[in-house]
């Protein structure tokens, strides 16, 4: 469900709860709960446009998460290179 929400927001831009529940059997309450979880993970955020509360995909946070993972992956590359050197000599 959360993955579908992210996918929907990726494609549709900022959307309201009404739009996100449209065409599904999921309640507003359930969707809101999922969005809150995603928001606390920094993946989505809500903004107020007029009287409407819209939800949008937080690209910056996802990029940040991916970037820090890439850095950690590089540290592993480095560590493995040292292991290779140690066992192959």
């Amino acid at each position: 469900m959360r993955l579908r929400l992210i996918a929907a927001l990726c494609v549709g831009g900022a959307m309201s709860i009404t739009q996100l529940t449209a065409g599904t059997h999921v309640t507003r309450q359930a969707i809101t709960k999922h969005l809150d979880v995603l928001a606390s993970a920094g993946l989505v955020r809500d903004t107020k446009v007029g009287r409407e509360r819209l939800w949008e995909f937080e690209r910056a946070q996802l990029d940040e998460a991916r970037r820090s993972l890439e850095m950690i992956a590089r540290q592993w590359d480095y560590a493995l290179a040292k292991l290779k050197r140690a066992v192959e000599s």
Binding site: R66, S68, M71, I72, L80, K82, K84
Partner: protein
């Protein structure tokens, strides 16, 4: 490149006997020698924690601690730790750990070692990469040096 935010996976082919590679992984002191931590006198035993001072230049003030989850001789070593636990004023024990799994597979060309670190989604973003693991320019430089040595030897 995987688009997962929860895990990292790396593989490397090591042209060395399986027993040799296993020793370098499972013997705590020897592990520390290449990884960059002082694990002299320590052992990797499932269910136990091991800690030691980082020996990597510039980070010697940091203690690295791992909780050994599983040891399957010549096949698998798994542990849990806190990524980037470098602030001495923080109690990391309440924070989620990531799981690191080393797996060995012997083949014709040598030993295929894979490392998977997972659980990042539960780790607060601020913790995922701090000074110890974020010094990417320093690490990249070292990586190039190491690769040069490996290629030459």
């Amino acid at each position: 490149m995987s688009t997962s935010t929860d895990r990292i996976e790396r593989k490397i082919l090591l042209k060395a006997p399986l027993a040799r590679v296993w020793r370098a992984l499972s013997d705590a002191r020897e592990f520390g020698d290449w990884f960059g931590v002082d694990f002299k006198g320590k052992s990797f035993v499932a269910g136990e924690s091991v800690h030691g001072q980082i020996t990597y230049p510039g980070y010697e003030h940091i203690v690295m601690e791992v909780f050994i989850e599983r040891v399957v001789p010549e096949r698998l070593l798994a542990w849990r730790w806190h990524p980037a636990a470098i602030d001495p004023t923080v109690d990391y024990s309440q924070e989620p750990t990531t799981l690191v799994v080393f797996e060995l597979e012997a083949g014709d060309g040598g030993v295929l070692l894979s490392v998977v670190e997972s659980g990042f989604d539960k780790v607060p973003p601020a913790r995922r990469a701090t000074a110890f693991r974020m010094n990417s320019s320093g690490w990249d430089e070292q990586m190039k040096n190491i690769q040069k040595h490996v290629a030459a030897s």
